[in-house]
Every structure is written in C-alpha cells, then in structure tokens.
Point group: C2
C-alpha cells in the first residue's frame, strides 16, 4: 500500500495537543509515518489525549536533528507555506500536487513538511523542498492550525490515491417503467380522493412529476410512493363504503 | 457574499477546545455563522485559546434549545455522519454536495450540522436534514475530530464558491524561441568547457533538454540558466587566457 510511503514531517512543533491532533488526522486518512524535527518540549499527555485512537502513530514517530535528515530518503519533498513572496511564488494547492505525491509514492518516499506553529518554514527549509504547497484560505485568515493543515494535505492525497469508495445507494435508481407505474397509481388515487378532476389531471400530474423528479428516485422510493397511493385509494374506498352504508341505514 | 449564508451547527458540543478550533477553521474558509444546540458546559477559556484570531466568531455564536430551531430558516440542511446504516445510505462526500450548498446559498441559508463528539447525530436529528454528508476516511479510523470535520466541509464549500485564486507564477512560461536560445548557449558552453565533443553534442543535449523540460520553465528560469552558461563560458575563457599567459610567461 503506497500510502505507507507518505511521511508527515513537523519542524519544531511546540504544542503536544497539535502533534496529537496531527496523529488522529493522519490515521483518518490512512497515513502513519510521522517524523518530528527537534520538537520543543512537547506536552506528551496533551498529545496522547488529542491523538485519541491514533496513539500508535504518536508512539512510532521518529525524531531528527534537522530537516535534511528527516527527508534524506524522500524523492518528493512538499513544503507547506501560508506566506507569499519570492521563494513561494510557484506554490500550488494540495489538490494540484496530490497526483504528483501519488505518482512518486508508487516507488519512493514522499515527505509533506510543516513548519513551526508560529513561524512556518524558514527559507532554508523551503530550499530543501521540491514542491511548495499553499492551502486555499481567505486572505483575511491564512494561518491554519498545524493539525488542520496536515488534515487537508492528507485528505487530498488520500482522495487522489482513489482507494476511497463513496457509499453507493443500496437500491438502484428506478427505471422509467417503474416510475410510470407509480405515477399512474398516483393519478388514479388523486382522482379517486377528489384532489383533482379528470380535466385538470394532466396539469396537476406535471406538478407531482416535477416534485418527485428533482432528486434521485430509487426502487425503494418507488415502493414507498406506490404504497402511499394504494393505501390512500383503499382508505378512500372504505370511507365511500362506510358512507354508502350510512346512507342506506338512514 | 453568499458564504455568509453558510451556517455551521454543532449539536451538544462538549469540549471548549473543539468549539474554538471550529471557529478558527471557519475563519480560514471565510465562514462566520456558528450556531450551538444546547452546548454542555463548555470550557470557554479553552475555546478562546483554540479560536486564536477567530474569537469574534466565538463571541457572535448563537444558541438554540434544539436542532429544529437552529435550522428553522435554512433551505438546505446537510447533516454529517461517520456511521453507515439504514438512514445514511444516501450519504455523499462533502465534495459531491458542495455545489448544492453553493447553489442554495445564493438565495437562502444552508446549515451544515455536526453531532456530539462522542455519538454523532441521532436518527431524529438526521431526519431534519435534506442531505447527508460522509467525509472520506479509511475504514479503520472513520471518526474525525469535530473541528477537523468542520474544516473539511468548509474547505470544500469555500473551493466550490470559486472565490479562491491560486497563486500564479509571476513570470510567464517561457516561449519556445527563448528556450532554444538558452539551449544553444548551453550547447556552446558545454562544448567550450570540454563537457562534450561535437560528435556527441546532440546526444548529450537530449539529456539536458530532458532534465530542464520536466517541469515548468519560466522566463525567470531561462534568465538564470542563460546566466550560468554565459558565466561558465566566460570563466573557461579567462582560464584559457590565464593559461595562455602562464604558458607565454614560462
């Protein structure tokens, strides 16, 4: 599994809680290789608390004296930055770089590098990067929490790997003949309960068709709608019968 | 600005830190309307700390007694769930629903609803939703931190609004004639410094072209590459001259 080839590198992280949140975000997206460059006296209790069920990532993290060592065996080194400027003008979004990360990860290691919570990556650290990532934000609030930045990058890479399969409707989209049987039942019932008269029926049914055709209509949905029409017709019939009985008794 | 029409609703949030992190994530993506349904004794100091520069969102949050009130004026109500099951099988990803959110937000309010940190949304709360969102994750670690889940949803909606403009290279992609002038200078220099002989020059230049054509080459890049070729040729010439001088002096 080439998601194993994605390494998250935090340079001089300060807050244990952020490192823990980073572990949880990585776990959500199937990434587990965490490298720290000279962490600054992390509060490990906070880290474990925020890592939640991903504490195994925290415990298997590796530590390095500088960025060059942390990425020495990485083919692609993608550095994140919130700032603009001379050394950052070829930055692209995480989505734009995600396919590159996937391609490189098929055969080698890819590092995604995040700077200090307060300062980001230095120009020296950026110089070691082969790609620069800037996460889309509003211009007013460009600075993401570091674990939030990690999540966005991991999420885009996870999606680019294409292993995630979205939930599929269990019931297939109903075919036209099933829809038409349902509409025919509704037409009969709406006439029978006196919602519309025959001369207005086609017009009213256009409205009903519009309402029921705006979204998806699955076979399960068709069954529910047929059941409603059938039951309404039955209930109207039983009222007619009981009214008939009443009349005959009077 | 129709991002103002996006409302983030947290049902029974427990941890102040998560509410603060939610505010920061919203601010990053230009969303500011936060509604809480019956928050449970939040630690507001933690909330303010994690909200960072987005404390104005925390301070302008609204509170409601139940979800129905929090979303009463919302045209679309998108509920998030990590679980599968009977009432969730028509869930789609945040990316799949983002355009719907943008469309509705042009004229009305859109709520994105998040359940309790420990339990998610109840079936009763899900029944009030018009769309169901499931955030892509690995099957092993489906439960995202709530502020992380908010971030992903806000990020996808922010991108779908299309107001974010990615950084553009300041320098345009170099046109072919500029590239060819640069390669011609490199050819001359590589011959002159003795890196290759004339009979192998075309072959070697194929390698150089491959290396320099793999990524983008901007006009700024061309200028740097021309400068290197020119200077190397000059340095080689000055060595030749000085060697000539040396020779003549010997």
């Amino acid at each position: 599994m080439s998601l194993d080839n994605i390494r998250i590198v935090l340079v001089n992280p300060i807050y244990g809680g952020n490192v823990g949140s980073t572990c949880r975000a990585m776990a959500n997206m199937g990434i587990s290789d965490l490298a720290l460059v000279k962490p600054l006296n992390l509060n490990m209790e906070e880290a474990r608390k925020m890592a939640c069920h991903a504490v195994h990532i925290l415990e298997s993290k590796t530590e390095y004296a500088n960025l060059a060592e942390a990425i020495a065996n990485c083919g692609a080194v993608m550095g994140t930055t919130a700032r603009d400027g001379l050394y950052r003008q070829h930055a692209k979004t995480p989505r734009a770089w995600a396919q590159k990360a996937v391609d490189v990860a098929k055969t080698g290691k890819v590092a995604i590098v995040f700077g200090r919570e307060d300062n980001g990556l230095s120009n020296e650290d950026l110089a070691l990067c082969t790609q620069i990532i800037q996460i889309p934000t509003t211009l007013d609030f460009k600075s993401l929490n570091i674990a939030q930045a990690v999540l966005i990058c991991c999420y885009e890479i996870f999606l680019a790997f294409g292993t995630y399969e979205p939930i599929m409707e269990m019931s297939p989209e109903a075919p036209s003949d099933a829809r038409e049987r349902m509409f025919a039942m509704w037409r009969d019932t709406l006439l029978r309960i006196g919602f519309m008269k025959e001369d207005k029926a086609d017009h009213m049914m256009q409205g009903v068709r519009r309402i029921l055709s705006r979204g998806t209509l699955t076979m399960d949905d068709i069954k529910i709608l047929m059941g409603i029409a059938k039951q309404a017709a039955w209930a109207a019939g039983s009222r007619e019968r009981s009214e008939n009985v009443d009349t005959s008794e009077m």
